[in-house]
Amino acid sequence: MEILILENQRKLIENAFKAINLLYFNNQLKINYAQTSQELGAIENIEKYKLIIIDIDLSINSKKDGIAIIKDISQYNEEELKKVFVLTGSTKVKDNLKILGFQNIPVLTKPINMEEVKNLMLKILNK
């Protein structure tokens, strides 16, 4: 199973996800990282991932931020949004998403609470 994490500061969360993969998914997950929206490539590429975790704040070089990517996914296929959740250090993101109509996307705040993240991942991946 492939999952995608769109995150600017990979090294700050890498080990947490490695541990979650080891402890709860038997190292079955192939975790892909992308720092920019360009690395994602064509929007159709999201089909191959069973789970997409997005941090709103991406690299300076990224053409789009997390919100724009969410909008793109929504436009492409609204069903795909079901496999998305947001992981962010900013407290305003939940309100921003609500204003844009994305109130159903779960938002978890950093610092990472491994228990919360693991539960959400299980919920989405077991669907």
Partner: protein, 562 residues
């Protein structure tokens, strides 16, 4: 219409009364130095009636009637007297000479002239019984000339009144509470309207410029100006302060029906005049130029005032900008911190999980534990790095020198200035007159000086008075003691005294304890930030509780600085 103040009315009244007394005194003089037709009793009786009539009509505006009666009285006194004698004939000219003292609004310069002529002709006829004499013509001409002289004065004072009229309207507008970025456009409207209404002088536009370094900067005008070219007029203006009908360009439109005025060597006003007649505006200008120049000088002071306000506004905006930047830095920092904490939080989480697995009896779990150990060791390194990053960031934030809310601008001010600032805050906050504020030793010491940041002081007292408002019950008091140092005491009755007594005692002890300032800051016992700010300004602050009277008393001591 020009409004007559009470002072003006009193002066007019006095001059009016004086004039009538003069007439009576001169009449008596004339009667004593020559023989008269009637007996003294008749003249006495006439004078009495004249005086009584005048007193009766004093408060009412029977101006024309009073004038007529004046002439009748003068006529009666001069009846059958020799009008070739100077001191007799001069009596008839008294009203004409007095005409500048008449009420401005009801003044008609020709009215007096014709009345004078009329009475004179009657008297002459009575004396000579000769209607057709060349004398009449000569007299008419001479009186006419006197009246002309009067007329000049009349026109000038008329013009002055018109100016005062315009000033009144401008001042009324300035005092009104219209909130606009500039009051000049409306003032230009007033000027244009008044000049047209009262002097038939049509000014189509008023455009103002400031002279700056060999160039012109546009100032507020009656139309929006984005482009201008003065051509040769610029040079001409160096030599002359007034130019007529120069060819200039405003907003890419040429205009050569104008009057250009240089005021106080710093400002230029361009008046667009009527295109139909090139000469008339010049004539109008020459007759009204006194008013015009005075008005434009007044406008210059308004322009300069607005410029100063604008400068102050930009300074305030600059400060606000600094504050906003600081807040934004803080917000970004919290974002940064949430990110950096992740490895630290994960490290401890993983450590717990590692030991759980390691101590289990399940071989598989032990195997997982050994894999987890690798991740754990890497996370430890990352956690240490994050701790370092967080430390650096926090030092940056805590460094007070970068905190714009804490900058001090100390200046030497008099005690009286501090009094005025705090008094105003108090009377505004509590909607009082200020009479209840107590002051001691004000007269002898209010000029003493101290060194404070007035804005910071205002900030502190806004806080203090807000506390008074929130926690006081009815009675509150403010006292200033201008002694060696300035001592300000704010006291109020404590709300729900019994309930708050113990907590307050604790707060007060902590507040007054100068050995615990840093701890109190951290624990935020309500008033500690007031203590913090006053410490910054070197103002001694203490609180006292008067348990008998249930009063909360806060004392501030601002030290004298020479």
């Amino acid at each position: 219409m020009i409004s007559l103040t009470n002072t003006e009315l009193i002066i007019k009244l006095l001059t009016s009364v004086l004039f009538r007394l003069l007439i009576i005194c001169y009449a008596i003089f004339l009667l004593t130095i020559q023989t008269s037709t009637f007996s003294p009793y008749v003249y006495f009786f006439i004078s009495l009636i004249y005086l009584m009539f005048y007193l009766v009509t004093l408060k009412k505006s029977f101006n024309f009637l009073r004038t007529i009666v004046d002439f009748i009285y003068i006529g009666l006194i001069l009846y059958e007297k020799d009008l070739s004698i100077f001191y007799n004939i001069i009596f008839i000219v008294f009203p004409l000479l007095n005409s500048p003292n008449h009420t401005r609004t009801k003044r008609n310069p020709w009215q007096l002239y014709f009345l004078t002529i009329f009475i004179l002709f009657i008297l002459l006829y009575i004396n000579t019984e000769n209607i057709f004499s060349i004398e009449y013509v000569y007299i008419t001409i001479s009186l006419f000339v006197i009246n002309l002289i009067n007329l000049f004065e009349y026109k000038r004072s008329n013009l002055r009144n018109k100016l005062l009229n315009i000033y009144d309207e401008i001042d009324d507008f300035l005092a009104s509470n219209h909130y606009k970025s500039s009051q000049l456009p409306h003032i230009y409207e007033i000027i244009q309207k008044k000049f047209y209404e009262e002097m038939n002088f049509n000014i189509k536009q008023i455009i103002s410029f400031k002279i700056k370094n060999n160039g012109l900067t546009i100032k507020n005008s009656s139309i929006f100006v984005h482009h201008w070219n003065f051509g040769n007029a610029i040079q001409a203006l160096e030599e002359s302060s007034v130019l007529f009908n120069e060819k200039i360009q405003i907003n890419s439109l040429e205009n050569s029906n104008n009057i250009i005025l240089k005021i106080q060597k710093k400002y230029i006003f361009v008046l667009f005049t009527d295109e139909t007649n090139r000469l008339t505006p010049i004539i109008k200008f020459l007759t009204t130029f006194e008013i015009m120049i005075k008005l434009l000088e007044k406008l210059v002071s308004i322009i300069e005032f607005e410029d100063r306000l604008y400068k102050r506004k930009t300074l305030t905006l600059k400060q606000l900008n600094k504050h906003m930047n600081y807040v934004s830095v803080i917000m970004k920092s919290t974002h940064f911190l949430s990110n950096e904490f992740s490895p630290i939080a994960s490290y401890f989480d993983l450590k717990d999980k590692y030991f759980d697995l390691k101590n289990s009896s399940d071989i598989q779990q032990i195997e997982v534990a050994s894999q987890l150990l690798l991740i754990l060791e890497d996370e430890e390194k990352k956690a240490k790095e994050s701790l370092n990053n967080i430390h650096t960031k926090i030092l940056q934030i805590l460094n007070k020198n970068e905190n714009p809310f804490k900058t001090k601008e100390l200046e030497i001010v008099k005690f009286s200035v501090i009094f005025m600032v705090i008094q105003r805050l108090w009377t505004t906050k509590f909607s009082t007159t200020g009479e209840e504020i107590e002051t001691q030793n004000f007269d002898s010491n209010s000029d003493k000086k101290c060194k404070v940041d007035i804005q910071a002081l205002e900030f502190i007292f806004v806080d203090v008075f807000e506390n008074v408002r929130k926690y006081s019950e009815h009675e509150k008091h403010l006292k200033f003691d201008f002694g060696t140092d300035l001592v300000i005491v704010v006291s109020n009755k404590i709300k729900e005294y019994k309930k708050n007594k113990i907590e307050l005692d604790k707060t007060v002890t902590n507040f007054n304890n100068n050995d615990r300032i840093e701890i109190n800051k951290r624990n935020n016992f309500g008033l500690s930030h007031i203590k913090d700010h006053t410490q910054d300004l070197d103002i001694d602050t203490s609180i006292q509780l008067d348990h008998d009277n249930k009063l909360f008393i806060m004392k501030f001591v601002i030290k004298t600085k020479d």
